[in-house]
Symmetry: C2
Subunit: 364 residues, 2 copies
């Protein structure tokens, strides 16, 4: 159409912001495949070729387009991390551990947040698979949301569950914390101090909550004590922590010790306790889960069931990387792999011997 037709099959000079591999090839006066070979350090390239290409690459500040690479290679070098509460310090530490490991392996972490809403889990998982993530780390808002399970069953990429026991009916990689061990020690400590009425602020019915509850029940059962504990199910929010604590403390025989199953519930509980002008360690014993600054600096310091959260993230990432690698080498299914990380009870002055006087005083 225009008078100035370009000569046959020459590569027209690129005016885009980003130079393409063809610009490099043109500048270096070589074929595009040679450029590709140099950049992916293919064995069969002459030193001369390498020099020419490298020079052109530097001159143009060329960077390969990851999108195009991913499309062609069929691997996006990214993993999706499905999170239920991104703002929770606990999770951000887990994310840190995982993303560091993944980044070192050349993977980018794609984070999604479902704010405790199982429906959003579904949306997010779909989003991530559409973006062709190579693998998935899952800390879902629910363990047994049918839509989530359906979707996951259909997805054919490696995945690792984080502290979840999904009833998937298929082999699945999991990294879990041994909540039960730490909680058992904690409950035994409380019982040794004379506590019989213990209130557990529990979250949604998922693995961590279940394991903690089970620890509580088992200690009482093993010691042939009547089940004078109370468990308050709900979500993991501060609001539930506060409301349930108020409920506990308005019993005619209120708990003499309260256990918070997470740092949000801890905050709620502390608020409720402050409103009632009670003092932890004197009027009430207290244990929380997961180390957090408040626990250490509260007056008195609050005993916690501690675990290494960054390690949890690292472990999940490493397990996923294993699956990713296995998949490349042998396309047959990776056998189910599971990892359990330890927890540890840290005794602090928030746990005190139950005072019968004080105890009955409250209960009136």
């Amino acid at each position: 159409m225009t008078g100035a037709a370009k000569s046959s099959k020459d590569h027209e000079v690129n005016v885009r912001a980003q130079p393409s591999i063809r610009d490099v090839a043109a500048l270096a006066g070589v074929g595009v495949s040679s450029v590709s070979r140099v950049l992916s350090s293919h064995p069969d390239v002459s030193p001369a070729m390498r020099r020419k290409v490298t020079k052109a690459v530097e001159q143009l500040q060329y960077q390969p387009d990851f999108l195009a690479q991913s499309l062609r290679r069929g691997a996006s070098m990214s993993v999706g991390f499905v999170l239920s509460d991104i703002a929770n310090p606990l999770f951000s530490e887990i994310v840190k551990g995982a993303s560091t490991v993944l980044q070192n392996a050349g993977y980018l972490t794609l984070l999604t947040n479902s704010e405790g809403n199982p429906e959003l889990d579904v949306v997010n998982i779909r989003l991530l698979t559409q973006r062709r993530v190579d693998g998935l780390i899952l800390s879902t808002a629910s363990e047994d949301h049918p839509a989530t399970l359906d979707l996951l069953r259909r997805i054919d990429i490696p995945m690792v569950f984080l502290d979840r026991d999904p009833p998937l009916g298929l082999a699945v990689n999991r990294v879990v914390s041994d909540h039960r061990a730490g909680m058992t020690t904690a409950v035994e400590h409380l019982v040794d101090l004379g506590h019989r009425r213990i209130g557990l602020l529990s979250g949604r019915p998922m693995r961590p909550s279940r394991e903690r509850r089970r620890a509580l029940e088992e200690v009482f059962a093993e010691r042939d004590l009547p089940p004078t504990y109370e468990v308050s199910d709900g979500d993991f929010s501060a609001q539930h922590g506060a409301q349930a604590t108020h409920e506990f403390l308005s019993f005619s025989h209120p708990p003499t010790a309260i256990i918070a199953g997470g740092n949000q519930m801890l905050r709620g509980a502390l608020r409720a306790i402050r409103e009632r002008k009670l003092q932890i360690g004197r009027d009430l014993s207290f244990v929380s889960c997961d180390e957090i600054a408040i626990a250490e600096f509260y007056h008195p310091p609050i005993a916690v069931v501690r675990r290494d959260t960054e390690e949890l993230g690292r472990a999940a990432a490493e397990l996923l990387l294993d699956s990713l690698l296995d998949r490349d080498t042998s396309p047959n299914r990776t056998p189910r792999t599971e990892m359990m990380l330890t927890t540890e009870f840290v005794i602090r002055p928030s746990c005190a011997p139950v005072s019968q006087a004080r105890n009955s005083l409250i209960s009136i």
Copy 2:
């Protein structure tokens, strides 16, 4: 080669895990462009066509490949978020605010963490641009790392800085907190209570630290007070907080009030104060920055300069979305836009009148 050659140009049935648009077209007995049109809700499609395509899509559970879409469209519908400390609760709240807004606009947030290392910023920014992110939100580890600035100057996508004053020499979008306002109120409060020797635990030389320091200096200057404050520069770590606090408290005339410019430094300071068996509100007044659970529940509660961190993230995301949209409509440069969000000083019992007796007692 094999005897069973397939007929001319038929689309061979796909055995991959994910069906492609051609599988849908084949199943529906239509052209691929029709499928594309239906899925992108193009106006010119007959109801009959829509029905056929929709049915095939559902039958195959087809989901378009985002990678291919991005490559073709030249937009990845993702933004990079360059973070210096992903594990800090402050940042995770900001991330939450931003990623929620972005997700609602169809964008995915790609997070990178540089752990306070400016070199990693460079690596991460390069990584993100290679992945063809459409925009960038930057909370870099350093404000004036030359390599970072060089790189950013070459990048031609919309970006928003978060609480940073980069000497870029070019128009740039910024969202900042008005640290100075809150800090001014805080310092005035301390001065009104009689404090003259105030120690500021400052972080790396970036906008937040600078603004806080400036507030401190200005209050003293305005009241014609001699500059009897102390500023300890360092990083934002708990370790620096602890070490600097120890240093302050070992002066022959130690500060009667300490201000921590961040929650990590706060933790370090509290540790140092505990080691010295001092009590905040009695032996020493204290102010911290950014609301965090310890501040609220410490005994006594700690006054803070508060800001809405989620809003900060939301604002950054919205500013970026504006730029992204502007860019689509008019390719001419977006004019520099800046937003300042308020801060607020929350008085708490950690600030008490300076007791001359106690004061001189410490200073001995």
